[in-house]
Symmetry: C2
Subunit: 514 residues, 2 copies
């Protein structure tokens, strides 16, 4: 057994059975081992940002890591933006980077690079395998590191000779750390805070936004009169009929300050204190009002459902009192193709158990209210602000949940960063419907230009924010990668296209011309 | 004057008048400043790998840096692969990365990242501006660092508040370091070596591969009987009629060992000792034969033309004796659409003064011999092995040399990494003809799988090397981004398409179906 085979077997034994891959020469033995050691589904991506974004989407839905397979430092470089998003989503990822043979590095061949240096800013754990004998144990450690609460990116660098040399040993997974329970004093303090009623807000993040956590938050609010809200950008929220609805902190600083203005005590549950996404001249970075007492009840590494349940018990909350949303989708809209009408289409037609990958940027800011009473669904957002994750994330989510419909809301500017992932969806015949908001602009930046006080933008500045000249033809792009696509430039056409897409079980793209 | 304006004016004054850009919120003041401070051509790319690859291609042809404009650590991440190639090409690049305002970093907002950590592996110089007053001086230092011989990537990180705050001061460029002359003893030693005749080889890299350097190498060889050869991958070679022809070290290790087997003394001129691109079991990493004496006559930071001229003078070589190639293009081929026939089409139809951006990978290995007697041209290769540079590099070269035809030979697998750059070519109406070698495979990896000894690849392995299922439709992709395209699946169709493309002055793509 060579090192590569011990690696693959260790992954399989450790429950890692999907590998998103963009291999090169240094990874050929790993690729070959995938046929000799059964149990891993290997998914080819044509760009490494597709690999890392898919691994993130997969982890968010599967609650376990996929492996990646990347080629040397530059291949890792291409994966960094979506590894950054994965890190911010607290997704477990076993990030495998092939590299030159140990003895080849000193010759400084063209692809020689500092893979560790590139990995560290996005990885909680980085190791370079020393030889074939240790590769299995390194892989087991990588899995454990990826699964360490709250979920982490673990990067294992695999020199080519550690893969091809005989002597590989399969390793058993060691003890996997569990999310810690919160301490009794923390429960007492949080109980005192929520009993103060409407002046207190529970701010939820991470797995507190799953159904059980939300149930408890709703029950606690029903009992005490406190409020609860979600962070601005969240890895995964469970929403719709049967769930407790929750609002998010808005992106625009002014709206965020308004949302939080009456909060006297902010109790953090699996998140940190709310901050502005960017700095703006004359506006605060911290969003909690002056004098507000901010306390951490539970960090993301804690057992958040358990923490909320314990808090609920401490204040005498009853799950039965949680204000669960009734199914009440909005009526299908008529009229102009506005964001508001699009939101109504989504709320009305969302199928049960859908997975939403939301990289809508500006177009989607108003989507939330009209889908709160839609069919139950999961909603995933861009957690790290590095655009270009939507299409890969949808790809990974569809691999994780083959029985569910994945719906990707995608801004045209963001879509172009990792557009190659449409090809992977076609090859793997994934049940993904992509809606491209084709406004031919980095529309968000038009607002940001004003928000940061850059006055009277001229022609050059406006050209940098426009995706027109030439307009991108999304039907042609989709066809180029084997994805069925239609264009919708009225609300009626969007409704028809959406209904058609729901009937498909293979990739389907709608260019929504705004 | 704010910091952003002082930055732009310092760039203009320092001769940096092109900026390849993919901005976000943190860079809005820089973008706005471009309208208030005239003199910079700003070119929008829809992905950061397009930005860095274009900056590399521009620098290779303009012999001066372009600026980039990237958004935070993740935007820099997306640029790393082509910055790696630029570093290996020794291209000067002023790499500007916008980041959060200085005071915002501690709040750990979603896009907060270790930009310095990501920059260092690909940059010779990294600095974060402290305030608006120093931005101008920092930019001047960045230009000087980029231009320091042999050419470097200089990364300047620009916190948003240093851009928007008043108090910016334009800085003058300090003294720019010049390439150093070689020492007299080095000339004496090299003269002794080349006088030994056929057992000695001059191995040339960097600017030694420009016309003047090659003239001297040819003259020295004519006088002494020594040989000369180029490195495997080169930033820019001047070739064709009127130039001294030179072969490259072949990529396959066996062929490279054969090419060098009789060399007793290897004299390095602007390069390092030849090494295998990858390690292979049982094959050497160093390519010079056992017992061969390897000596460095000139490093890439030396004045290489001057060094070769001095060596020529020392051995009594005469430029008139340099064996300059006569114009003798191959006849147009007939028959099958093979690599050999494609090479003949290129040799026959290459227009005068063309710029070739070669990311052909396997298909192009045989292109060199049949274009050595073509019209004079520049040939640029992938220097760092990070595929996905061809389309961006061609974009940058076309911006640098608007009066010349740019021809991009592009493997389909490589093209997909940075396919968005076609859109930039369309927007800027660039004179680029792209030939996609559409073999629907990472064909090189099929050979590499065998070369590394991974035997009997199974279905999974072969799937990872195939770009089929579905086949990529390059005509549709080009159309999607506003680029005119035709398909050629016979040699006659390729000839017709090539001739059509030569008549165009705007982007034109040929899908060559292999």
């Amino acid at each position: 057994m060579n090192g590569a085979e011990s690696l693959v077997q260790t992954l399989v034994d450790g429950g890692v059975d999907v590998c998103f891959s963009n291999p090169g020469t240094s990874e050929m033995h790993f690729v070959a081992a995938l046929d000799r050691v059964p149990g891993v589904r290997c998914v080819l991506c044509l760009f490494e940002g597709g690999v890392s974004g898919a691994a993130d989407g997969y982890a968010r839905m599967a609650d376990k890591p996929a492996a990646t397979l990347l080629h040397c430092g530059p291949g890792l470089g291409n994966a960094i933006a979506n590894l950054h998003n994965a890190k911010r989503a607290r997704s477990p990822v076993v990030n495998i980077v092939g590299d030159h043979a140990t003895y080849h590095v000193r010759y400084d061949a063209p692809l020689t690079s500092d893979a560790e240096g590139l990995a560290r800013p996005v990885s909680a754990w980085v190791r370079r395998s020393a030889n074939a004998e240790t590769v299995g144990a390194d892989a087991a450690d990588a899995i454990a590191a990826a699964l360490a609460p709250p979920g982490q990116v673990a990067t294992l660098i695999l020199p080519a000779d550690t893969a091809w040399t005989e002597g590989g040993r399969v390793a058993r997974l060691g003890t996997i750390q569990k999310p810690a329970p919160v301490r009794a004093e923390a429960i007492d303090a949080a109980a005192r805070a929520v009993r103060a009623g409407a002046g207190t807000m529970l701010l939820l993040g991470h797995t507190a936004l799953r159904q059980q956590g939300l149930d408890w938050a709703g029950a606690i609010a029903a009992k005490t009169g406190c409020r609860f809200m979600a962070q601005m950008s969240n890895a995964r929220m469970q929403r719709g009929a049967g769930r407790v609805a929750i609002d998010r902190i808005p992106y625009p600083v002014g709206m965020a300050l308004t949302a939080l203005k009456d909060v006297k005590q902010l109790v953090l549950v699996g998140t940190h204190a709310p901050v502005a996404f960017f700095a703006y001249p004359g506006k605060p970075s911290a969003l909690a009002p002056a004098g507000c007492e901010v306390s951490t009840f539970a960090t993301p590494a804690h057992d958040l459902t358990g923490a909320l349940a314990a808090l609920g018990a401490a204040v005498g909350a009853k799950l039965a009192d949680a204000p669960r949303q009734k199914l009440d989708p909005p009526p299908l809209p008529r009229g102009a193709l506005t964001s508001e009408h699009i939101a109504a289409v989504i709320g009305a037609l969302m199928p049960e158990n859908a997975i939403v990958c939301d990289e809508s940027v500006t177009t989607g800011r108003g989507f939330f209210p009209l889908s709160r009473a839609a069919q139950p669904h999961d909603w995933m957002q861009l957690t790290g602000g590095a655009i270009g994750e939507g299409i890969p994330m949808a790809t990974g989510a569809a691999i994780a949940c083959p029985d569910r419909k994945v719906i990707n809301f995608e801004a045209d500017g963001s879509a172009m960063y990792t557009v190659q992932s449409l090809w992977t969806q076609a090859r793997e015949k994934l049940n993904v419907m992509t809606l491209i908001w084709s406004n031919r602009a980095y529309e968000i930046l038009r607002g940001e230009l004003t928000a940061v006080g850059a006055k009277n933008p001229g022609r050059t500045a406006m050209d940098m924010l426009s995706l027109g000249n030439p307009d991108i033809d999304w039907i042609a792009l989709a066809k180029g990668m084997g994805v069925e696509a239609v264009r919708a430039d009225t609300i009626e056409a969007l409704i028809d296209a959406f209904k058609t897409g729901l009937k498909r079980t293979t990739p389907f793209l709608i260019e929504v011309v705004m």
